[in-house]
Each structure stands twice: as structure tokens, then as C-alpha cells.
């Protein structure tokens, strides 16, 4: 019982929420939430590149023309966002797998606790009879 209580007040505060989801649901939900954040991160990195070396950006623009430059930057941006989303998928899968082991132990302890309660209840009932 103390193990169950310790877990619920410690790591369980975070991990028990995961118990509501299947792995695929959990990962997919986080994958979807990563799309806007990936776009934001890509835009911010693009902004940093632009600030860091405006001359380079302008040189690319002059060398291959407006459409070509836009296409290249857009392709880089899309690649980054896709990479970011898959990286987040990997990280959330990894997180889920890490916690699942502890959740299994927690479930096992809960079942054990239930069994103890049932045995005690049965003993009590027998004594009352």
C-alpha cells in the first residue's frame, strides 16, 4: 500500500495521466501539437539566420532569383518542420515507454492490494457468520 501511495504522490502525478491513453493515441496527439510548434520554431530559426547573415540571404536571392530563393527556403522550412515533428514523435514514444514500466509495477501493486482487501473482507465476513 505504501508503495502505491508513494508512487501516486511522486512520479505518479505525471505518469498516471499517461495511463488514460494508448501509446499510439498519446504519441499522435503530441505529434499533432508539435506541428504548430514546429512551424513556430522553424520561423524563429529562419529569423535568426536572417538577422545573423542578411547579406548571405540577399546573395542567394540575387543569384537564383526571387522564385528560386523562396522555393529553396520553403523546402528547407518544410524539411525542418517534418523533422521536428518526427523528432517529437520519437521523444514522446520514448517518454511513454519509460513510464510504462513503472505504470505496470503500479498496476501490479494495485491488484495485489485489491487481493489483500478481498481476503480481509472474506475473513471478516466469515467471522461475522
Amino acid at each position: 500500500m505504501s508503495k502505491v501511495a508513494l508512487y501516486e504522490h511522486g512520479e505518479g502525478k505525471t505518469t498516471l495521466r499517461l495511463n488514460k491513453y494508448y501509446k499510439t493515441d498519446y504519441s499522435s496527439a503530441n505529434f499533432l501539437s508539435s506541428v504548430p510548434l514546429g512551424i513556430l520554431t522553424g520561423l524563429l530559426i529562419g529569423l535568426l539566420v536572417f538577422i545573423a547573415d542578411t547579406n548571405w540571404v540577399m546573395r542567394v536571392y540575387e543569384k537564383i532569383g526571387g522564385t528560386g530563393a523562396i522555393l529553396i527556403f520553403a523546402a528547407g522550412f518544410i524539411l525542418f518542420v517534418v523533422g521536428y515533428c518526427f523528432f517529437s514523435l520519437y521523444m514522446f514514444n520514448h517518454k511513454y515507454d519509460n513510464y510504462r514500466g513503472n505504470l505496470r509495477t503500479y498496476g501490479l501493486n494495485l491488484r495485489r492490494l485489491k487481493k489483500v482487501y478481498e481476503e480481509e473482507q472474506a475473513a471478516e465476513n466469515a467471522a461475522n457468520k
Binding site: 508513494l6 510548434l37 520554431t41 530559426i45 529569423l47 545573423a52 547573415d53 521536428y84 517529437s88 521523444m91
Partner: protein, 304 residues
């Protein structure tokens, strides 16, 4: 004694430790880039640290990032904006997924200041997953960003002709073409990976050996890089050699002494020989210390 005290007062110990680390971190940031007098005062930092000690680690990290950005905004809007964007990108790229390593982002600048950043890298490589190398990269970037702004603060403040945009450009180009920063980034990455893969070797004392090899590689690489690409001085040589050895000793101490204090950790090992698969579960004895077993004796009823 220490273990029992930690077990008995685990929660308050955690809060105190958080508050102390936060205070030291923000105090160092304020000494480096304390451009706003009011929020750089020790009493303000102490109150802020105490308040932040009770919030989750992710919010603590965001608060430290915000504190840094606000300080820099008082130097220059352009520099502050660029710093803020870099810190947001760092958060979105990694700490969003692994908030538990956020503390390292705060500890690394402290360790860089006292010349033993390798200690954190070795401990993390020996105890954490391979992906946490990103924490080391971002921690190093964070330190060199603050350091660069500190060193060039007068130049940024006095360059009245430059626009805020140009100041941001100067910062980015200055930091990301800094030879020492790039060298440290590569060295730390290589050391982390070597330690991480050596400690996974299946023999006893692999942690110690990994740390020893990591320390050696750090000293050799840094000295070699300085000899090849830079100008090695006596102070730098001392920093790399003595700092490296001290870091290695601290890392061995932490992985051997502090880690077993994690009394709740139950370790499992799986291995096999020709005939069997072995699944070993190691439960620390200290976990059983608090358990009190009461044995109830029921005497046999005497009939008649």
C-alpha cells in the same frame, strides 16, 4: 546517516536544493549581465529563488530564461530580442520534451564559471540517455551567449551609430563564430558520446572507466585544439588539465556516492548465457529500512 536524513526529509531537501541552485544561477547571471540594478539585487534574487523553488522544473527554466532576457533588454532591445529568440528556440527544440534536464541549463553556466563544466557532462553521460547530449550543447551555448554579452557589453552600449538590428547581427555572428565556443561544443559532444558508450560496456567499474577515458579525451582534445588552432597559455593549460581532473573526480564521486542515495530506484538487469536468460531485479536494502514487520503469534487453542 546522510541517507536516513535524506529519506526522512526528501521533499524539503529538494526545495532547499532547488532554491540554492536557482539563487546561485541567477546571482551569477546578474553578476555577468546585471544591466538592471533592481532585479540584480541579492534580496530580490533570493525572494525569486524561494518562490520559484516550489514550481515545476519546466517553469523554473522558463523563469530563468525570462530573467536573462529581461536583464539583456536593459542593455539593448536588439540584443535582448535575439537572446529571447535563441532561448525560446532552445526550449522548443529540446526542453519541451525533456524538462527534467532543464536544471543542467542553469548548472552549466555555474560550472563554466568555476572551470569545471566537464563534471556535469560526465555525470549526465554516465547516467542519462544519449539524447541528453542536446542539453550539454544548449547549456554550453547559453553560457557563451551570456559570456559574450558580458565581455562586449560596453561595445554594444557605446555603438550609438548601430541600429538594434545590427547589434543583434553582431551578437549572433560574434557568438556563433567564436572559436573557443565551437571548440568546446565539439569537445563536449565527443566526450559525452565516448563516456556514454563506454559505460554501457558489460563489465564491472564501467562507469569509472568511462569517466576516466572521458576526462583523458577532454584534456587531450582541448590542449590539441588550442595548440593547433589557438594560442595556448599557462592559464588555459591549467584550466583544461586541472579542471578536467577535478571534474573527473567530482563525476566519479557523484555517480558513486550520490546515485545510491536514490533509494527508490529498483534496478533490473537482463543477460544470458548459453543455457539461460537471467532477469535480475536489484532492490536497494535501504528501501526496506523503514518497513517494520509485526509478527502476531496465535497460540494453539488448548482443548479441554
Amino acid at each position: 546517516m546522510l541517507e536516513e536524513f535524506y529519506i526522512a526529509h526528501r521533499r524539503p531537501c529538494g526545495y532547499i536544493l532547488r532554491a540554492v541552485i536557482l539563487f546561485v544561477c541567477m546571482f551569477i547571471i546578474s553578476r555577468y549581465i546585471g544591466f538592471q540594478a533592481f532585479i540584480s539585487q541579492p534580496w530580490f534574487i533570493a525572494i525569486l529563488s524561494l518562490a520559484l523553488a516550489f514550481v515545476p522544473i519546466r517553469f523554473i527554466m522558463i523563469a530563468v530564461m525570462a530573467y536573462t532576457t529581461v536583464q539583456i533588454f536593459f542593455l539593448s532591445y536588439g540584443i535582448g530580442f535575439v537572446t529571447g529568440v535563441i532561448l525560446i528556440v532552445m526550449y522548443l527544440l529540446y526542453f519541451r520534451f525533456a524538462g527534467q534536464y532543464g536544471f543542467l541549463l542553469m548548472i552549466l553556466p555555474i560550472l563554466y564559471l568555476i572551470k569545471i563544466p566537464l563534471a556535469a557532462v560526465l555525470v549526465l553521460a554516465a547516467t542519462g540517455p544519449a539524447i541528453s547530449v542536446i542539453t550539454v550543447i544548449f547549456g554550453t551555448t547559453f553560457y557563451y551567449l551570456i559570456h559574450y554579452i558580458d565581455v562586449h557589453a560596453v561595445a554594444f552600449a557605446s555603438s550609438s551609430g548601430a541600429t538594434e538590428f545590427e547589434k543583434g547581427e553582431m551578437l549572433l555572428q560574434g557568438v556563433f563564430t567564436n572559436r573557443e565556443f565551437l571548440m568546446m561544443l565539439v569537445v563536449m559532444f565527443v566526450v559525452f558520446m565516448i563516456v556514454h558508450f563506454v559505460k554501457r560496456a558489460n563489465f564491472s567499474r564501467s562507469y569509472e572507466l568511462a569517466i576516466l577515458i572521458g576526462t583523458g579525451v577532454f584534456i587531450i582534445l582541448t590542449v590539441a585544439c588550442e595548440l593547433l588552432f589557438g594560442d595556448i597559455t599557462r592559464a588555459k593549460l591549467l584550466y583544461y588539465c586541472v579542471g578536467g581532473v577535478v571534474s573527473g573526480a567530482i563525476a566519479v564521486f557523484l555517480t558513486n556516492i550520490i546515485k545510491p542515495l536514490d533509494y527508490s530506484r529498483t534496478e533490473t538487469v537482463e543477460f544470458e548465457d548459453e543455457e539461460y536468460n537471467y532477469y535480475v531485479k536489484a532492490v536497494p536494502k535501504v528501501a526496506f529500512k523503514t518497513e517494520t514487520v509485526s509478527v502476531k503469534r496465535i497460540n494453539k487453542r488448548k482443548d479441554g
